[in-house]
Amino acid sequence: MPLDEDVVAAIYRDHGTALKRFVLSVSRDPQLADDVVQETVLRVWQQAPQITGSLRSYLFRTARNIMIDNYRKAQRRPQEAGDRDVQALPEGGVGAGRIDELLNKVLMEEALLRLSAEHREVLVALHYRRYTVQEASAQLKIPSGTVKSRAFYAVRALRTILDEMGVQQ
């Protein structure tokens, strides 16, 4: 049986960097980010036997919940100057809604990175750069028929990836 230390260390090694990147996109306080990452890993460790689906997206959602809890706690006691929870928020105090936006962004980035490079390239060209099939064909130096079929398989693959990650569609 793997020891708890090994399990926690494995979660941290495999996902710690990505989690920290996510938390830091919400909070600029590195110490607080470390706290959130630690709490996330430990909570997920405690619940590990019940997890189905992607561990990564579960970790992100857990981190999101912890950050929102921190945010609500900070809201309830706004007088405490220098409270680190207050600094957990990006400037402007955008709060819980913004955390969800960032979570969606991080999850979608994760999903795009799981696509093959060829699929991602076509998806970015058509959806984000707003190229037509013809323009993408010229830009990527592939026939326009290939752009279309890659776009077709890319959206299918993305849907499967999002299902696996447990992203609500």
């Binding site: 959806h127 279309k148 776009a151």
Partner: protein
């Protein structure tokens, strides 16, 4: 234009990359193809989800991914696991409660679930100690830390809400069915005890650890999964 080709227009149509004439052709196809209509319906939320990523970040992602591929040739050193995390883990492990009657099943389930998570680390040599906790609905809680020694195994027992009368004892069962008493003590009125026992049974050979009361009734069993 054959049917397969038109089916394949779906991706570019969804992402908005078709020329007007092609888009019109695909829409005509949609009117007669239930399969494409259903697929388009299932994918309808995708563009909005993609919009969660700002354009510049998405474009950077293709470049970043290419750079990551190059970097992958030289895998980065994994970040060291902070010792603070492991300290906190040790503190919480003592609080993990499992239902007494299902302790064995829970341990097996945890093993299964965690085994998947642990991945490649399983190939690393096991650490010399292991720690197991169980709790009963009566409130009884026992944590036993097993420490590998050259002479056998040391057992650090931390119990609370134990029976408060008589003599209690801790027994080690090895994988061949042999039983060894690791330690015995007089029950404390508070139901708490911290005691260290010892057994010549090697850690890897321990199948279970039992606590018994004065009448030799088992009050707690900790099944040690085979390492």
């Amino acid at each position: 234009m054959n049917g397969t080709e038109l089916h394949h227009f779906l991706g570019a149509y969804l992402l908005g990359g078709l020329e007007p004439a092609e888009a019109a052709a695909f829409e005509q196809h949609l009117a007669v193809c239930a399969h494409c209509r259903q697929e388009l319906d299932e994918l309808a939320t995708l563009p909005a989800l993609l919009d969660a990523i700002p354009v510049s970040d998405a474009v950077a992602l293709t470049a970043a991914a290419a750079a990551a591929r190059d970097r992958a040739l030289v895998p980065p050193e994994p970040e060291p696991v902070p010792s603070r995390l492991l300290d906190e883990l040790a503190a919480r492990r003592r609080k993990v409660r499992r239902r007494w009657t299902s302790a064995v099943a829970a341990a097996a389930a945890a093993c299964l679930g965690l085994g998947i998570l642990a991945g490649p680390l399983l190939n690393q040599p096991a650490k010399p100690d292991a720690s197991y906790s169980v709790a009963a609905s009566s409130g009884l809680e026992v944590t036993v830390g097993l420490v590998k020694k050259t002479w056998g195994t040391e057992l650090a027992v931390d119990g609370r809400s134990l029976p408060v009368a008589g003599t209690l004892s801790l027994w080690v069962k090895d994988r061949d069915g042999g039983v060894d008493r690791a330690c015995a003590w007089t029950a404390t009125p508070t139901g708490r005890v911290r005691i260290t026992g010892a057994t010549p049974v090697q850690l890897a050979r321990i199948a279970s650890v039992e606590m018994r009361d004065e009448q030799q009734q088992t009050v707690a069993v900790i099944a040690v999964p085979q390492g």
